[in-house]
């Protein structure tokens, strides 16, 4: 009776075992899910409350039996069964578990996940589960709109908003707004109007559907759904422009939808709409969208401000981010403003400042929590869509449904084509036909439309069930048909895909350079364009806003430097993770190091030479000052964030890197005399010094995490072969310090050891020395993730 999920036996024995186990787990869970859920899920069933159900009744009868036997003396119940008081959290947890196991299960069937997008599979699972529940005899739970809007939707939107790529979004903002506002309006009126016309046709038995209902239906169904778009587009890796256009549209059309929905809902009761109402509607739209953005921005700033002060309580940093964002959403919902836009604004506004303030680990936490929550939410939404479909109640009307589907498609295509024609007049990079096709095809509908219909009042809208059926059909159509076919179509049309290149520092430098260049050219030409205002905003941001929202030194850090540090950190982390100088992932077969680019010193350069004796003296002094061990007792406290070796490790690596460079300079002391001293308050140095601050710095006695790196003379091997002098491994790393004014500004730090380095330097072979010292600043194959943005406020 339980449908077997089919799977092909894998070639290997172990894989078979693994799959088998997982299948078993899933089936047990399904069994376990169905029965208690069927027993007590639906609210209408509460009265029956499981007494009729087989499983339950046995136990309760047992219970009864026991009681009857011991009426006089109540025996102490060794084992009790009390499901009621954990019912709700139990069910929620069960559903979430089921959803997650489903996600796991799909990937066991390899070819399936590449043909069918996950959203489709989840809906199918929902259908199955719903069907099972119905078979058992209970009525399946329906996607409660309140639960949907308050709990399931916000994580997805926050995830999208926080990691929204600001640069392409702001560059295409005009286009996105056109599609979102004008496109949605066009869609709703077109569909609503034509449906009404269709309903007037005699044979369709639809005369009772009035104009306002149709328009409302049109408004609900015309909005492109962010959840569905995300779910499908995530898997096809389309190029950034198209992704941001469709996705941006799906986010920003929420304001239009909200206004139209409330407008038509209000007036459906009354029956007529006057001109004043239309005007009020437009006003309401402005209020809803601007208000939403404003609320979001306010909370965003609050969150950024709060994060400035969290340097001593790192553990709760992610909490602030989540809570402020959620509050923004809820506050907007209080006033019927657009909650989605509030969330997006909050996430986008707070991100640059929060990221500058919080620790690396909080950043990781935020990222993974958001991803996790949004993933679970998405899964639950789709499963519930399936279950709700089975739940009904449905009212199928062929004309209505078929016409809806056709009109939706037609309206979308016409809308996109028409708008693109207008938009292309203003764009620098025009949208091609291929682009238009993908934009039109990517207009998927999803659960938001469903929930909105569900919220309708049955009294005002007697055709609620018909609407529901039609909406579900549309959703299924777009998600299944369009979702499944978009991937092969993208390949067929050879649409540009997302480029997986990582941001190089040259590109970063030139992007900045271009920004300034274009701003300059605009100023010379005298017209205040896009770049001019962006530049003004950036300057304003830097001058005032950053100062109050970002803690400490980092407020002055220009973006290029932040990028550079980020890159260094990535390399350093990679270094630590790949262990003790063993084989590192080699992506770039390059053995170029710093000495290859340093200009050769002309032989006839007349500079004073340091005598060898002097050199040795300097070195000794520096060495003595730098010799300091760092073994500290580790004290664990749940509330303080103990520095973890990785986080410490990278700072050490950075320090070491600097030392290596400086060591090299010492070896070249014959060639030039002074090296400019690092300014004492540059953020780099400040952080390095902080790293050496005894109070803030705890290190595990076990320094094995720090790679002990060996010198390897004959190694043309892997690119990031870290060849550094070995002495570093012995100690836990050295603090950096300015040496006591030696030789007027000579600031060099030397690894304190009597090892190979100094002796090599003494030898008259700087070349050999250089060969030993490989610079670690090879930009390596840093694991790049999608949110690699460290951009100015409006890049």
């Amino acid at each position: 009776m339980i449908p077997r999920v089919p799977f092909r036996p894998a070639p290997g024995h172990r894989t078979l075992m693994g799959r088998g186990l997982l299948m078993f787990l899933i089936m047990t869970l399904i069994l376990g899910t169905i029965l208690p859920l069927g027993a007590s899920s639906s609210p209408d069933v509460s009265s029956r409350n499981g007494q009729d159900n087989h499983n339950h009744s046995h136990r309760s009868q047992d219970h009864e039996g026991k009681h009857h036997d011991n009426k006089s003396r109540k025996a102490f119940p060794v084992l009790e069964f009390d499901y009621q008081h954990v019912r709700i959290p139990f069910e929620i947890a069960l559903w979430v578990l089921l959803a997650s196991l489903m996600k796991l299960g799909f990937h066991l069937i390899p070819r399936l996940s590449s043909i069918v997008p996950e959203s489709c599979l989840l809906i199918v699972v929902g259908l199955l589960v719903g069907g099972l529940i119905k078979l058992v005899g209970e009525s399946p739970p329906v996607l409660d709109s309140k639960v949907f809007f308050l709990y399931l939707l916000p994580p997805i939107i926050l995830d999208a908003g926080y990691f929204l790529p600001i640069r392409p979004f702001s560059e295409n903002l005009g286009t996105i707004l056109m599609f979102a506002v004008v496109g949605t309006l066009w869609n709703s009126f077109f569909i609503g109007g034509l449906l009404y016309a269709v309903c007037q046709i005699e044979g369709a038995n639809l005369l009772r559907v009035d104009l306002l209902s149709c328009l409302l239906f049109g408004a609900i169904i015309s909005a492109v759904d962010p959840v569905a778009v995300l779910a499908v587009f995530e898997e096809i890796h389309i190029n950034e422009l198209l992704h941001i256009l469709v996705f941006g549209e799906s986010l920003l059309n929420d304001a239009v939808t909200v206004v139209l929905y409330h407008l038509f809902e209000e007036f459906a009761g009354v029956g007529t709409v006057s001109v004043v109402d239309v005007f009020l509607g437009i006003l309401s739209f402005l209020v809803v969208s601007m208000g939403g953005v404003l609320v979001g921005a306010i909370y965003g700033f609050l969150s950024a401000l709060t994060s400035r002060f969290t340097s001593h309580q790192r553990v709760i940093e992610p909490l602030f981010v989540f809570m402020y964002s959620y509050m923004a959403y809820l506050s907007a919902e209080i006033f019927h403003l657009s909650g989605i836009m509030a969330l997006i604004a909050c996430g986008a506004v707070m991100r640059p400042y929060v990221e500058a303030n919080i620790s690396h680990k909080s950043h990781t936490t935020i990222k993974y929590f958001l991803k996790m929550w949004s993933s679970v939410s998405e899964t639950l939404i789709f499963i519930f869509l399936g279950v709700s479909t089975v739940a009904g109640p449905h009212q199928w009307n062929w004309t209505f449904v078929v016409m809806t589907v056709i009109l939706c498609l037609v309206a979308r295509v016409l809308g996109v084509v028409g708008l693109t024609y207008v938009i292309n007049k203003f764009r620098i990079v025009k949208l091609t036909t291929k682009d238009q096709f993908i934009i039109a095809y990517g207009g998927l509908r999803g659960a938001i439309a469903f929930s909105l219909v569900f919220l309708l009042d049955k009294d005002h809208f007697p055709d609620k069930h018909m609407f529901l059926t039609a909406i579900i059909t549309i959703i299924f159509f777009t998600v299944f048909v369009q979702g499944m076919t978009i991937r092969p179509l993208v390949d067929l049309l050879a649409v540009k895909k997302k480029q997986e290149t990582k941001r190089s520092i040259n590109e970063e430098i030139h992007t900045q350079f271009l920004d300034h260049l274009l701003t300059g050219i605009e100023d010379i030409c005298g017209h205040y364009g896009h770049h001019h205002w962006k530049d003004k905003l950036n300057r304003f941001n830097k001058k005032y806003i950053k100062k109050c929202l970002i803690a400490g030194e980092r407020s002055k850090e220009p973006q290029l430097i932040a990028f550079y540090h980020k890159m260094e950190m990535k390399q350093a982390i990679e270094l630590v993770e790949s262990g003790s100088g063993a084989k590192l992932p080699s992506a770039m077969p390059s053995t170029i190091s710093l000495q290859n680019i340093q200009p050769k010193k002309p032989a006839d350069r007349a500079l004073p030479q340091l005598s060898k004796g002097r050199e040795e003296e300097i070195r000794k002094i520096l060495r003595n000052n730098l010799q300091r061990t760092r073994q500290r007792l580790q004290s664990y406290n749940r509330h303080t964030l103990v520095a973890d070796p990785y986080e410490d490790g990278w700072k050490e690596i950075l320090l070491k890197k600097k030392k290596i460079e400086l060591e090299k300079k010492i070896s070249q002391m014959n060639n030039y005399l002074t090296v400019p001293a690092p300014p004492s308050d540059s953020p780099t140095m400040a952080r390095a010094r902080l790293a050496s601050d005894p109070q803030a710095w705890r290190v595990k006695p076990d320094t094995d995490n720090v790679p002990t790196i060996k010198v390897d003379l004959a190694s043309p091997q892997s690119p990031e072969s870290v060849n550094v002098v070995d002495e570093f491994g012995k100690r836990g790393g050295q603090p950096q310090r300015e040496p006591e004014g030696e030789d007027g500004g000579l600031t060099m730090k030397v690894p304190s050891s009597s090892g190979k380095a100094p002796t090599k330097a003494d030898s008259d072979d700087p070349r050999e020395q250089q060969r030993l010292m490989r610079c670690l600043s090879d930009p390596g194959p840093a694991p790049d993730e999608e949110e690699d943005d460290d951009e100015p406020f409006l890049p």
Binding site: N506, G520, I521, C525, K556, I561, Y564, S777
Partner: protein
């Protein structure tokens, strides 16, 4: 060379429009702007451009202004710089920032990309030796960071070193320790900036409307 010695007539403007690819309207607007900047004179000098107050905040102001007076950008394989330019040169330099037409062949797109990259390259390669040396690159980064206050030469140096290293790694690959990477040649420059989509990024919208009435902060 190439400066107008007479009042530009309609034919001249049309001819210019054709050569540089602007529309006639745009050429007229730019001519008005040119007159405004030069204070009515036939030629533009550096001081005229430097006095634009909006440019004051631009960290690479000097390079931009220099680019207008750099003979290499006038399209006739010249070299060196001049003291004053005429409207024709002004237009030619600005033509580098025209957005590409929507329907062009791959080859034309490549040509446009190359020209724009060449402009950028010329801006960096100040001594016109065909390569961007470490010093020149360092100077670029310093200028970029100069607007952000006292960052210090050390960090600029570190960044430009890292960038140079990256260029060398990407373009040359393997080098023996005693080999020396001279500098970024134009081919290497093209290679490392491949991912930037320079033809669309390095464009501004030239308005078809009369902009001479807009305040430009002079």
């Amino acid at each position: 060379m190439g400066a107008f010695h007479s009042v530009p007539t309609e034919d001249n403007l049309e001819d210019l429009a054709e050569r540089t690819g602007f529309s006639l309207e745009q050429v007229k607007n730019l001519h008005r702007r040119f007159k405004y900047l030069s204070g009515g004179a036939e030629t533009l000098r550096k001081e005229n451009l430097e006095s634009i107050s909006d440019l004051a905040f631009n960290p690479i102001r000097k390079q931009i202004i220099q680019a207008f007076f750099d003979k290499r950008n006038f399209g006739q394989n010249g070299a060196g710089s001049v003291q004053e330019i005429g409207f024709e040169e002004f237009l030619i330099v600005l033509a580098n920032f025209r957005p590409p037409a929507p329907r062009i062949t791959e080859e034309e797109r490549e040509t446009i990309k190359r020209e724009k990259l060449r402009f950028l390259f010329n801006m960096h390669d100040t001594d016109n030796d065909g390569t961007i040396t470490l010093e020149e690159y360092r100077h670029v980064v310093e200028e970029l960071l100069s607007s952000s206050g006292a960052i210090g030469k050390e960090t600029a140096k570190a960044i430009s070193d890292a960038a140079m290293l990256e260029v060398a790694s990407v373009t040359v690959g393997q080098m023996r320790p005693d080999e020396f990477y001279e500098g970024i040649t134009f081919e290497h420059f093209q290679q490392i900036l491949k991912g930037l989509d320079i033809d669309s990024k390095m464009s501004i919208r030239f308005m078809n409307v009369n902009t001479s009435n807009m305040r430009c902060g002079k």
